[in-house]
Symmetry: none
Subunit: 232 residues, 2 copies
Amino acid sequence: MISSLVLVVEDDEEIASLLEKYLARAGYRTTKASTGLAALAHVQRLQPDLILLDVGLPDMDGFEFLTKVRAQSTIPVIFVSAMDDSTDKLLGLKLGADDYVTKPFNPQEVVARVGAVLKRTRGVAGHEVIRHDGIEVQLDSHIAIASTEKGRVELPLTATEFRLLVCFVRSPFKTFERASLLDACMPESDALDRTVDTHIANLRRKLANFGQEGYIKAIRGIGYRFARSTGV
Amino acid sequence: MISSLVLVVEDDEEIASLLEKYLARAGYRTTKASTGLAALAHVQRLQPDLILLDVGLPDMDGFEFLTKVRAQSTIPVIFVSAMDDSTDKLLGLKLGADDYVTKPFNPQEVVARVGAVLKRTRGVAGHEVIRHDGIEVQLDSHIAIASTEKGRVELPLTATEFRLLVCFVRSPFKTFERASLLDACMPESDALDRTVDTHIANLRRKLANFGQEGYIKAIRGIGYRFARSTGV
DNA sequence: CGCCGGATTGTCAAGATTTGACAGAGAGCC
DNA sequence: GGCTCTCTGTCAAATCTTGACAATCCGGCG
């Protein structure tokens, strides 16, 4: 399995580097942000597996940050606090932090906690996610996301379009006949083959709206295939 | 009343025997396991009344063990840790441990704690609590609480509404199909899919009454999803 | 090679259908 | 009676389907 990505949110460059070093040594991929705003952007774009959060950020209260993150995901968060303030600690845990570390800390201990939290949270969520190129499909939440230069955006798909996209992303490069797609994506319906074309067109348009063009190719006489046609 | 059964999970045979001896002398029945796996089997089979858990197991992290136990019961657990690590303690307590003892310990003190915990939890509700955003659900006591600016308020939910909320808070961001919700929240009933809508509407209204709006989103053609939609 | 014609696919908009929100009523149950 | 659950009906909005027409593809032929 690909190693977990840890987002280090810390304004003290020295501490951040130290943490990154130890985390990298332990086999984690890392990324960092020195402000809450930047961190939120990273969360959006990179979808880290865990966040190491310094409570004392320059631009944003750590708790505010946590609240914002929690509004859109359940990424585990470990608080790092300057003071050994047990009220902070309790508040943090209550808001949904998964662990708590106080400065000064032993980097190895932090790494150990990261490992423990990841182990604990892994497998909890069904969270089946399929990706291809710049497209991500979250099966259990029924959300499709496109990665654009501006970040990750949720695609506003209808149920049918979503099902189509799931088929495609599950088997990129496979050519689907219209009948198969009808079966798989428009159940309980005796629509015509051509109806598929319309849904495909709609899906194409929505993908294009978010910069994901050229994905769905028509295979004359057969049906459709998903996968970006590389150059030529 | 038949005496309580205490499961001692400890890999150090000497310590285990010591504990068993003292517990037996205090009138408890005991059983022991030296690995997490064996312990889980005992929990399944014997349904002990309390677990004395050494955090440092050979095969399984104590927290992992606790999580697994908590997945299927609310048996009170007392942590026994080698180090006096207060974060471990917090983590343990947050996960649902009922008390915490550090080595080296006084066996009599342990027995006393066992007695205290049993007394406290006997007949009384356990305390599995799930939270998301401003909503807290206490499974055992069947109470749902909303955090408003004015403080915490208990939501006056019906049984069905409560079960719905539990489903949602357990898996925020997941989209539930109506059929799943029917299954999970309206057992022993062959109600129509549309009935779910009614309960959802009622739940929404009650949440809104306490300032918790925008939580439940309809996913057209699929079902419902829980999670406040923030502009991000 | 370039053009033609049939077949296939893309696009669009209108109409049909489905869906979700909600209010209200009947039934069962303390 | 009061409460809860279930079902029905209505309305508006979202979605699906269809058919017409334009655009494109592809093989054959001059």
